[in-house]
Structure formats: structure tokens, C-alpha cells
């Protein structure tokens, strides 16, 4: 099929709002049932690790947090020492089935308490902050399919940016379409059929690729998720991910975010609601994957740019800290991994990191067949995470 007839067919398809059969065929090739998928969940703002996975027996914890400590009677006890915040009740079943892994005290050398510096470090997996590429972007550079990584958000995050591409970013399935009058679509079609010289032609190709990608997403097999997702962008994003998996998009990585964890004040009013949203979203997501028979093909990895200070502040909140908590859900090596918290050896009042986050990244990325050396400049030991 030459480009002209391809674009024409696609535009007809877009106008009619239907599926494009030729593209579906390509998608099916890329997807393959049983393809392993990594879903990264970013908790933006610095989630308070100590009130998520709670060292409820630790005297130091209780002393540092006279108002915020989660008590022994409230926590969902895991092992007699650590417990989950009660707002995470929705995740308890996963723990019992060995499908939830928790990695406390995760961080990196010379930590920054700045949101954006630390987030950039987590995204680039380069604590020296030299690299402008993301850990998954480096992996994606070795893949053929532009859809190997998809972000649910307005713009592609650094994590997915590579030397060659930046993954695909979409605000949502519904909005990933051209909203132009028909006359403009026709003009676009004509404009893309001729070639140009130099950078102008590179731009033409980028536009043609966009049209292909839009057609591919709009042409996915329809699937209506059954589970009930929490309201808001996070729930919507997870629902879209399920639809893309079920529809056969073939993406190997999805990136979603839940924001609002910067709880400097009034933490008791805010963090539990966010954790509840997290648990409800992941619960619904897992339920739909089970219905699809894909629950062992999808690995969820969660992180936040830092944990918070051990000591609560005077505003009923906690300030920016250092080491934090990572989690993994799905076909994982369930349990609490790594050496755990050490509240007797703090770094300027913060949890000291005892597991390098790149080790956890490498353990999770092994699920999609990525090797540690594809992910970041400095080699790191791999934390075994796969169940």
C-alpha cells in the first residue's frame, strides 16, 4: 500500500470513527498474547514511606511522630514488625497471595531533597544528573516499535526519553485523536503525500508518524473494563492501560502517575485518601487483568522521588526526606525485600538509603527482558524481584 492510499484510508477511518483493519494486523504482530508488560506507577510529590509501610513497633518512629504515627492497632500487620497503612486494605489480598513486594529504604548516593532534582535522578537513573535520557528511554532505543513505551500524561516524561525517541505520550485514549474539521484533515493528507528537503521533510515524517500512531490507537479492539476504578486521572489512566492491553496495542511499558504526596501540612487528611486511591486503582486494574487472563503478564512497579523526614513538623505534616519506599505488584517475589528501615542510623534526620533504586529498576525491567546495562550508565547489582 503506498502512502497516499494508506493516509486516505486512515483519514476515512478517522472521520468514520471506526477501526483500521490494516493497522490492527500490524498491532497484532507486535502484541503477541502473553507479551510481558511493565507498568510504572509514579507517586509524585514524595510519598511518606514510614506511614505507608509502617515500622509500628519501632520506638524511634513513635517518638518522632507523636501525632502522625500509625498505631499497632490500626496497621495491617505484615510480619509483627511492619504493617501497611490501613488505607491500603485493598492491597492486603495481594500480600497474602504473595503478589506484593515492598522495598523499604530505597534511594541513591548524595540524595537531593529537591522534588525536581530528585525526580530527574529517578527518571534518568543517573545520580550525577549528567544524562538527558531516561532509564526506559535507553531500553526503548533498542526496540523497533514506537509504541514500546506509552505514557498516560500530557507530555513524555524523562524516564521514557531516549536518544532516538520519547515513547508515546497521550492524555488519554479518548483524547488521542485529531480534532480538526474535515477540510483541514484533507489538507493534511495532501500535505503529507509530497516529500521535501532537509528538516522540513523530517517534520513531514513526524506528522505522518503521528497520524499512523493515532490510527493505531483509535483502531484498537474495543474493550470495556469491568472493574470499578477510583475517580480522577489516576483511575482513568489505569483503565486506559487495561483497554490498551486488551485491545492489543502491544506496548511493553506503561507509565502512570498519582500526584499530591507533598504532605507538608495536614498529612492525616491527605495521605490516607491518596493511598486509598492507589490501592483502589491497582485493585481494579488487577481484577481486570485477571478477567483478561493476563494477570501474570503484567508487572507493576511503584516509586516516589523521595521519602519524607522521620520527624513530623509543626504543621501536622512531614518535610522532604531522602530514602523512600518502592513496591511491586503482580508476578513478583512477594514480601519485604532488602535490609529494611534503620531508624537508628539516620542521615541528617532522614532515612538512609540501603538499596539503590537502580537495583530495583533492573529487577523489574528483567520482566520485559531488559538487561541492567541497557538501562543506566553505571552497572548496579540486580535485586531479584520476579516471582
Amino acid at each position: 500500500m503506498n502512502r497516499r492510499s494508506f493516509v486516505q484510508r486512515m483519514l476515512t477511518t478517522l472521520a468514520a470513527g471506526g477501526a483500521a483493519p490494516s493497522l490492527l494486523a500490524r498491532t497484532a504482530r507486535a502484541a503477541g498474547p502473553g507479551e510481558k508488560i511493565l507498568v510504572v506507577v509514579q507517586l509524585s510529590g514524595g510519598n511518606d514511606a514510614l506511614n505507608t509501610l509502617v515500622p509500628y513497633r519501632d520506638r524511634g518512629y513513635r517518638t518522632a511522630r507523636p501525632n502522625l504515627a500509625v498505631g499497632a492497632r490500626e496497621v495491617l500487620d505484615l510480619d509483627g514488625e511492619l504493617g501497611l497503612h490501613p488505607a491500603l486494605r485493598g492491597l492486603a489480598a495481594f500480600w497474602e497471595q504473595g503478589r506484593l513486594a515492598l522495598v523499604p529504604a530505597v534511594g541513591y548516593p548524595r540524595p537531593s531533597r529537591s522534588h525536581f532534582v530528585s525526580m530527574a535522578v529517578w527518571h534518568s537513573a543517573d545520580p550525577s544528573r549528567k544524562s538527558l535520557e531516561g532509564w526506559l528511554g535507553r531500553w526503548a532505543d533498542g526496540e523497533d516499535d514506537p509504541f514500546c513505551a506509552v505514557n498516560l500524561g500530557l507530555s513524555a516524561p524523562l524516564a521514557l526519553r531516549g536518544a532516538e525517541g520519547e515513547g508515546v505520550a497521550m492524555g488519554g485514549l479518548k483524547s488521542f485523536r485529531l480534532q480538526l474539521p474535515e477540510a483541514a484533515l484533507n489538507r493534511l493528507e495532501n500535505g503529507l503525500t509530497r516529500t521535501y528537503e532537509g528538516p522540513l521533510d523530517t517534520t513531514r515524517k513526524a506528522m505522518a508518524r503521528l497520524l499512523e500512531d493515532v490510527a493505531r490507537v483509535q483502531g484498537l479492539r474495543g474493550y470495556r473494563p469491568e472493574a470499578e476504578y477510583p475517580q480522577g486521572p489516576f483511575g482513568n489512566a489505569l483503565r486506559d492501560v487495561v483497554r490498551m492491553i486488551a485491545g492489543g496495542l502491544g506496548s511493553r511499558v506503561y507509565y502512570v502517575a498519582l500526584g499530591g504526596f507533598d504532605t507538608h501540612a495536614g498529612q492525616l487528611d491527605r495521605q490516607p485518601a491518596l493511598l486509598e486511591q492507589l490501592a483502589a486503582g491497582l485493585g481494579a486494574f488487577s481484577q481486570d487483568l485477571k478477567t483478561l487472563g493476563r494477570e501474570n503478564d503484567v508487572f507493576v512497579l511503584g516509586f516516589s522521588e523521595f521519602g519524607r523526614r522521620v520527624r513530623e513538623n509543626a504543621s501536622g505534616g512531614t518535610d522532604h526526606g531522602k530514602a523512600g519506599l518502592m513496591f511491586a505488584l503482580g508476578p513478583v517475589a512477594g514480601g519485604v525485600l532488602g535490609p529494611g528501615y534503620d531508624l537508628d542510623d539516620l542521615d541528617d534526620g532522614d532515612l538512609r538509603y540501603r538499596v539503590d533504586f537502580r537495583s530495583v529498576y533492573a529487577g523489574a525491567a528483567a520482566f520485559i527482558g531488559a538487561r541492567a546495562e541497557d538501562l543506566f550508565p553505571e552497572p548496579q547489582p540486580v535485586l531479584p524481584l520476579l516471582g
Partner: protein, 386 residues
């Protein structure tokens, strides 16, 4: 010196590159005044930008201040009689970067933008000296806290690596010497400024300053002034800047001999001198240079809004976020990468889907999109180019 025809066709190219906005009648008027007259008109001294009429440093809702400043700058770029100055402000704000999310004070961010407007067209040493004392920069690169006991290397390092010499033309010890030389270059504590009802300004704290001699690029220096002088006289600085200028105004890969010549012009005659030289240069009107630059989202939006309908503040900022470039918020200290990096799926989709909200059937795209016949040509690849 370019001696070919200077018709509205060439004038439109000049307008896109110089100002990122224009209409057919403006291209025609420029063509009528001839090449040199046109360049003189575009490079008149910058019209001053009005001070914002809103509170710049409220205790809460800083995001709102950021949005309002974006709108304020756009408003000025769209209405000023000297739009070329505004594209130059964009150039400098991608060079001497500061991020709103770190600086957090709208008054400082806006003052930095004003500095780029007033000193940006002139000679580099004056601009560099102002930036080194610019409160937003002192906060952004942590020099405001740098003291003899713990010199902070952030500013010293970026000054050498990104702002002047470029990597490979200095050593780690030069970074450390620069950091020591700038200890004590600080600002009025924000709380004190607020209490005394005065603006935050540059303050030199002698007690924080390391007075000892340092070796910097083979010379003995004591204070930051000497470091700046050495850098502002260094040919490498002008080569780095000229390369950046030509990538911003001429083509993604400018020829080395043009960069070399541009560096000399820049050092002798300042930014507008360089632009005057470039805009009247034969290379500037070569066919392979036309449509060779990708509009950044800010330039795309300025160009569109100039010939279309206005957008409410929130929609404006949302569009910029969606396209991947928000004023006063570069992705990091290295500024916006630019070029084809602007053309990822989501960004390109945002660019196209914005068109119905901004354009009318009768909008004049003669300058915005090369060769445009009508408003629908805004969907063509040419509309993405400068």
C-alpha cells in the same frame, strides 16, 4: 552581503526568524524598505515591557503567578513594536536558564526576563555581569547560599560548562576556583526584603567571601569580577555563543566558518550586531536554510495568536504544557533541547488540535506558514517551521 531580490517572500522569512510573528502587510512593508532598511526596523532598541499589574510574590498560589507571567510576556510579544527583541529574550532565557519551580518568586523571574530585554541586544560582558548578580540566577544555581566554608559549585560549574566556555575547555580545579571566587555573592533575604518593603537585590556578604588567591584558567584571581572578566574576554565563549545563535537563527547545523566569523562579530558588536550581520548575509537567504528550523511551542503559539483569536490564560498555559515548552520553566539548566525534539506525538497532536480554537477561516498565514494560501495550510509541515 546578500544581493539577491528582497521581495515579501524574503521579508516573510526574515520576519519569522527575527520575530516569530508577522502578517502579509508587514512583509510587504519590509520589502518596500529594502533589506538594510528592513533589518534596521526590526532591530530597533527594544520597546520596554510593562511591569505586571498583579502581585508577583504572594505567599500562596505561586502557580497562578507563573501562569499570569506567561500571559503577560505573551501579551507583550504580541503587541510590542519590537518583536525581534522578544525572540532574543527567548534565546537568552534558554541560555541563562532559571526555573520558576525552584526560584519561586515571580518578581525575580520577571526581573531576569527584563534584564534579557534591556541588555540582551548589547555586548555580552555587560549581560554576563548582570546575570552573575541576578537574584533569580543566584537562587536558581544556589550561589546565594555559597560561603567560604562550603562553597557551592553549582553556579561556577554551569557558568563554565553551559554559559561561556563549554565542556572540555576548563578543568575541575577551575570550577572549584570559580566557586570560591563567587562565595558571598548573595541576595537580600526574602523575609527581610518583605519586612522592609523593598525588592530583593544583589548583596555581597564580605564575611562569606573567600578572599584568598585562586588559580583560574592559569591566572591568579580573587573575586568573581575577575572570573567574569576572563570569561568575557575568552574567544571560546564567543564561539559557543555564536554556535548557539546560529542554531537558533540560521540552521540546525551551521557551517563552522560562519560560526567562527559570527563569534568575532558577536564579540565586537554584541547580539544585535551579530543579528544585523546574519540577517544581511547571503547564507541567510539560501533555499536550504528556509524552513530549516522547527518552531518551538512558544514561537508557534506567538505566531498563531498574532493572526488568530486570543486564548484565556489557563488554555494558553495548558497548550504550552501539552506542546512541551512553558516560559520560565525549562526542563533543566541546559535549557530546551529544541529542533525535532519538539515533534513527539503528543506535542504535535497538541499543536494541530489547537488550530480550530485559534484560527479563523480568514486568518492571514502568509508569514506563519511559508507559501500558505489560506488558514487551512496551518496543518502543513511548513507551519511547524521558522
Amino acid at each position: 552581503m546578500y544581493t539577491g531580490p528582497f521581495s515579501p517572500h524574503e521579508a516573510a522569512h526574515l520576519l519569522r526568524r527575527a520575530a516569530a510573528r508577522g502578517k502579509r502587510e508587514e512583509a510587504e512593508a519590509l520589502a518596500d524598505s529594502g533589506l538594510e532598511g528592513a533589518v534596521e526596523r526590526l532591530l530597533q532598541p527594544p520597546a520596554p515591557a510593562p511591569e505586571p499589574a498583579f502581585e508577583l510574590d504572594p505567599k500562596k498560589n505561586r502557580g497562578q503567578v507563573h501562569r499570569a507571567l506567561v500571559k503577560h510576556w505573551f501579551q507583550h510579544w504580541l503587541t510590542t513594536s519590537t518583536p525581534a527583541a522578544e525572540r532574543l529574550v527567548l534565546f537568552w532565557s534558554g541560555h541563562f536558564t532559571s526555573e520558576f519551580r525552584k526560584v519561586k518568586l515571580g518578581s525575580l523571574i520577571w526581573r531576569q526576563n527584563q534584564t534579557f530585554r534591556t541588555l540582551g541586544p548589547g555586548r555580552f560582558p555587560e549581560l554576563l555581569e548582570a546575570v552573575a548578580r541576578d537574584p533569580a540566577m543566584l537562587v536558581y544555581l544556589d550561589n546565594a547560599q555559597s560561603r567560604k566554608k562550603h562553597p557551592n559549585e553549582n553556579w561556577g560549574r554551569e557558568l563554565l560548562e553551559l554559559f561561556t566556555l563549554g565542556e572540555g575547555h576548563y578543568g575541575e580545579d577551575d570550577v572549584q576556583s570559580a566557586a570560591r571566587a563567587f562565595t558571598g555573592w548573595s541576595i537580600t533575604p526574602p523575609r527581610k526584603a518583605r519586612a522592609e518593603g523593598r525588592p530583593i537585590g544583589f548583596e555581597f556578604r564580605a564575611r562569606w567571601h573567600d578572599k584568598g588567591p585562586k588559580t583560574f584558567l592559569g591566572q591568579t584571581v580573587r573575586g568573581g569580577e575577575e572570573v567574569l572578566q576572563i570569561l568575557a574576554r575568552h574567544p571560546r565563549t564567543y564561539r559557543l555563543l555564536a554556535g548557539k545563535f546560529l542554531r537558533f537563527y540560521l540552521a540546525p547545523n551551521p557551517p563552522a566558518e560562519l560560526v567562527e566569523r559570527g563569534a568575532e562579530v558577536l564579540q565586537l558588536e554584541g547580539s544585535y550586531g551579530l543579528l544585523r550581520w546574519l540577517f544581511t548575509h547571503e547564507a541567510f537567504y539560501a533555499p536550504q536554510v528556509r524552513n530549516a528550523l522547527v518552531k518551538s511551542p512558544i514561537e508557534y503559539l506567538v505566531g498563531l495568536l498574532y493572526v488568530g483569536r486570543g486564548l484565556p490564560e489557563r488554555v494558553l498555559v495548558r497548550a504550552l504544557v501539552g506542546m512541551g515548552q512553558v516560559p520560565f520553566q525549562p526542563p533543566n539548566v541546559a535549557g530546551w533541547p529544541g529542533g525535532q525534539a519538539w515533534l513527539g506525538d503528543a506535542a504535535l497532536l497538541a499543536r494541530l488540535n489547537l488550530l480550530p480554537a485559534v484560527l479563523e477561516e480568514t486568518s492571514d498565514l502568509y508569514v506563519f506558514a511559508d507559501g500558505a494560501r489560506d488558514a487551512y495550510d496551518a496543518v502543513l509541515p511548513q507551519a511547524q517551521m521558522l
